[in-house]
Amino acid sequence: EAGVAQSPRYKIIEKRQSVAFWCNPISGHATLYWYQQILGQGPKLLIQFQNNGVVDDSQLPKDRFSAERLKGVDSTLKIQPAKLEDSAVYLCASSLGGVTGELFFGEGSRLTVL
């Protein structure tokens, strides 16, 4: 079974530039999550989709971050303009939904903002 795919794995940009990350969840998984993991901290939920609708984006800095999940499958997370404090690993995860509790994570996209 193919896992959650993310790209790019690494990205280095200068502050005020823009960047986009892509995620392809496990086939059939209705729920998709984007987490931000800053060095030394646990993953923090940015946004959660159920199919192509947003369920929770309360911790998404909407002035610079945006995300979409067209057709309820792939998702992109965009940052524009980037700040130094956005340097982190961006994790995408998917799940079947419901109360199983198991999220399947991608390998993450490591962003460095200079």
């Binding site: 896992g3 030394g40 646990g42 939920l45 959660q48 109360v99 509790g101 198991e102 999220l103 993450g108």
Partner: protein, 111 residues
């Protein structure tokens, strides 16, 4: 608000020694607790969940609602247990399923 606290950033034990990774939570409802693990160069993955009452790779965790804790234990640590461990709490909100993670504990098992 839901919160997960892992008081130890680093934990180092010798092979064969018992290990306990601490996790405390704050949640007003009925919590569901999990342990996720990330081995070196691997993805974050589920280790165990409290509702299953299972033992995975020799690890167990008991939910103590009185102490609001969900400590992870293993009687005899192995070198392959060296990894980053995250305790996580769910809001058990049906389709609005959301996991909140602690900051993690890096476990090192020395030979």
């Amino acid at each position: 608000a839901q919160r997960v606290t892992q008081p130890e950033k680093l934990l180092s034990v010798f092979k064969g020694a018992p290990v306990e990774l601490k996790c405390n939570y704050s949640y007003s409802g009925s919590p569901e607790l999990f342990w996720y693990v990330q081995y070196s160069r691997q993805r974050l993955q589920l280790l165990l969940r409290h509702i299953s009452r299972e033992s995975i790779k020799g690890f167990t965790a008991d939910l103590n609602k009185g102490e609001t804790s969900f400590h992870l234990k293993k009687p005899f640590a192995q070198e392959e247990d060296s990894a980053m461990y995250y305790c996580a709490l769910s809001n058990s909100g049906g389709s609005n399923y959301k996991l909140t993670f602690g900051k993690g504990t890096l476990l090192t098992v020395n030979p």
